[in-house]
């Protein structure tokens, strides 16, 4: 019986979860690390809380978006590299399941674990400051976050394709990580940036995602922000899918 892409996605996620949890200390890292990070972020954010609660929430969400951006952009690319080294890439490439599904499933495991940790860490903060309404808004903000992950997945596909083309994962990761961190605009006030860097921040999906979530939580939700995010998702996904397809075709032409 033939199965759907969703079924294959689920299989990839379960497999990735098994692999991570069987690394030495993997399960502990998988379960505990996100909470430590979330706690650490909350701790850093608490310094801003001395100013206002809004700034605290802003920082907290900013760190979450930044971390998920790094996961979304890098996990698939690093996975491809590891699969190649382990002689598994060829078998993934000859399977009828597309690499898009495999790369998405691999990234989603860490994304879900981290979202879970951040959600649990942020629930008490939001409840204390905004009551039950804050918790409902968090759920809507999380839906916005999922839309925001799509353009990041598009960028992740682009990075994965570049890694296949250049045959080098470390250099690409070392360039992409600081660029993403600086241009996220999610953990600092972007008005301090020169106008042209601010332009880049607006173009990239991290700031849009973070700002949409933040506005939702503080009660200034705007449909325009969500529409922008959806448009961004369409643009970056199209860019990622077409570029990855071209680079994978080039990979098959040059030799795997």
């Amino acid at each position: 019986m033939r199965v759907s892409k969703l079924d294959a996605l689920y299989a990839v996620m379960v497999n990735e979860l098994k692999i991570i949890s069987r690394e030495p200390g993997g399960l502990v890292l998988l379960v505990l690390l996100p909470y430590f990070i979330a706690g650490g972020m909350a701790f850093i954010a608490s310094f801003f809380a001395r100013v206002t609660v809004g700034v605290f929430v802003r920082q907290f969400l900013g760190f979450e978006v930044l971390m998920l951006s790094l996961i979304m952009v890098q996990t698939g690319a690093r996975f491809l590299w590891e699969e190649r080294g382990g002689g598994r890439l060829e078998f993934l490439l000859v399977s009828p399941t597309g690499m898009y599904v495999i790369l998405l499933g691999t990234s989603l495991v860490m994304v879900l674990v981290n979202i879970g940790a951040f959600t649990i860490a942020s629930l008490p903060i939001l409840y204390l400051n905004y009551g039950l309404v804050g918790m409902v808004k968090l759920i809507i903000a999380l839906l916005t976050l999922f839309i925001g992950l799509l353009p990041l997945y598009g960028i992740g596909l682009l990075v994965a394709g570049i890694i296949m083309r250049l045959n080098d994962a470390d250099t690409v990761a070392n360039i992409v990580t600081p660029i993403l961190t600086i241009l996220s605009g999610a953990t600092y006030p972007i008005y301090v940036l020169p106008w042209w860097i601010r332009g880049l921040v607006y173009i990239l999906p991290m700031y849009q995602t973070f700002y949409s979530m933040y506005m939702e939580i503080i009660g200034n939700a705007s449909l325009n922000l969500v529409i922008n995010l959806v448009l961004s998702a369409i643009a970056y996904l199209s860019l990622g899918v077409t570029t990855y397809a071209a680079l994978e075709r080039d990979f098959r032409r040059r030799g795997t």
Binding site: M1, K18, I19, G87, E90, F91, V94
Partner: protein
Amino acid sequence: MSIAIEAHDLRKRFTSYERVGFLRRRRVVIDALRGVSFKIKWSEVYGLLGPNGAGKTTTVKILATLLIPDGGYAMVNGYDTVREAQAVRRNIGLVLYPDKGFYSRLSGYENLVYFGRLYGLDKSTAETRARDLMRVVGLESAMNRPYEEYSLGMRARLAIARALIHDPPVLILDEPTIGLDPLSAREVRELVSKLSKEGRAILFTSHNLWEVEEVCDRVGIINNGSMIIEGPPRDIKDTLGLKYVVEVEVMMNGHVETLREETPNPAHTLRRLINDAEVRGFNVVRVRINEPSLEEAFIRVVRNEGK
């Protein structure tokens, strides 16, 4: 349709770079395939032979949709490997590296189930197939052991099981017995023969020439990216004029002497040698006919090609 795999005038050129200084490098173009053609029928095991760098793995990768040829085309079960790659993938089982290509922390069984699901099986079908195949390849007792603890022979057998997980009609086995001990290699050969009897078409590459001779119905020898000679092993040996060696041991004046003759017609020569011995009053102790091996054919073809 009686043809399972067809390669027509396959051409592939690779570009690599050689270091010629601290930063400078020189472009090197390698013609991996220069027009390779062959056809494989259903229920046939076809051996692709050639020295290192001859183009065997390039051919295998093109048939498996991992490489796009620069010229020519390849069809698997009627599907074009470039234009209908997805359909080809559903029709092939691939063994590429018998010693790797699995997740080391997962058990052999878990690996098979996972690849089964990637190859389009639902969970319960993948589990049933994986369990059955672990038994078929003799890994039933080790199915829950992590892959990293498997011996080379076990890994090779698991690689074949993966190639069969979605029950493909075509198998592409690139040196599936490399590094295996004789017993494991024999088991793999027996399995290959059994699979071809089920109606599957099998492309089998190996460095082990007598193994190819034992398993394959037809053989193609490629060198420097070109098909040099093709046909059943016996026909190849005949075409190249390789001779049988007929040996007749006779008792002559109390000690054993060997009469030896190279011939293309062993039956006729054997009869003549025995007649001669009997006419002279010698007792025939033992007779032996050494068939020319595919190895001799291979060496002759490759050497002639190099001249």
